[in-house]
């Protein structure tokens, strides 16, 4: 498969983890403040699975991105900005998903505030990564 097809593959794989990570953070934040316990548990359970699926979804996104750029981890200009946000967000998402998976006591219960702050930070990094990814495709 040539670089162009890997670029299409990257475009096809990045949106799933972006959606999952952003929704996971939003649902957990909503659950954190929601007064009804049953609904709160449901929101956190959804947030949990979205974080796990989002982290799993970063793997094909990273692989296709690296293959399309022939192994470039940083690059130049907008691509460099894209990567400077992509790598910390990838690490943070994998770390958060591992934390969440291991801490089974808050799978469907109230997530700690520290986790929510970190998930919010991951969401900002993911948005910045997506923004500069879009700039590479459409900004020139």
């Amino acid at each position: 498969m040539n670089s162009e097809n890997w670029a299409k593959m990257h475009g096809a794989t990045v949106h799933f983890p972006i959606a999952m990570i952003l929704c996971s953070g939003a649902l957990d934040a909503l659950g954190f403040f929601f007064p009804v316990a049953a609904i709160r548990r449901g929101l956190h359970a959804a947030g949990y699975w979205m974080m796990i699926l989002g982290a799993a979804g970063t793997v094909p996104a990273v692989i296709s991105g690296l293959v399309m750029s022939k192994g470039v981890m940083l690059g130049h200009d907008t691509m460099r900005l894209h990567h400077l946000f992509a790598w910390p967000s990838f690490a943070l998402i994998v770390g958060l998903a591992t934390w969440r998976a291991l801490a089974s006591d808050f799978t469907a219960r109230k997530a700690p505030a520290g986790y929510l702050v970190a998930a919010g930070f991951a969401a900002v990094l993911v948005m910045a990564t997506g923004y500069y990814g879009g700039e590479m495709m459409l900004g020139h």
Binding site: V62, I63, L66, V67, K70, G71, V72, M73, L74, G75, H76, D77, M79, R80, W87, F90, A91, L92, V94, G95, L96, A97, T98, W99, L102, A103, M136, H140
Partner: protein
């Protein structure tokens, strides 16, 4: 738990880096270019209108016959919108590409390569 989360994040990044090294190794087998190692903190090539115009003059005398006077490509490739680092550009100018592009190591000094790099960068 925090340690394991950090470990997983580190393993993920290290795996991506290893995969990237593997891809670049495979690419280098099929490429005649001198590899340009990547660095995290890269100093951008100095750029100013003077440097760009000096680079343009050098480009016209040394590069235009292959890349075209407007750098859109002729025998050599189009140089607009290159997604590579300044060091990569200067590495190609300095060392050339075997059987494809001559090395300018002996013809151009460091300052001239900086000017040419500034010009190529200005084509984005």
């Amino acid at each position: 738990m925090f340690f394991l989360a950090g470990l997983a994040a580190g393993i993920a990044l290290a795996s991506a880096y290893g995969f990237s090294l593997g891809l670049r190794f495979i690419e280098s087998k099929h490429s005649r270019q001198q590899p340009t190692p990547e660095v995290w903190f890269e100093t951008p090539t100095p750029s100013s209108l003077t440097l760009v115009s000096q680079g343009r003059a050098l480009f016209l005398s040394s590069c235009a016959h292959c890349h075209g006077a407007d750098a859109t490509g002729d025998e050599g490739p189009d140089l607009h919108n290159v997604w590579v680092s300044d060091r990569y550009i200067s590495n190609i100018i300095t060392n050339g590409i075997k059987h494809e592009m001559p090395s300018f190591k002996k013809k151009l000094g460091h300052d001239e390569i900086v000017r040419l790099t500034a010009y190529v960068r200005s084509l984005e």
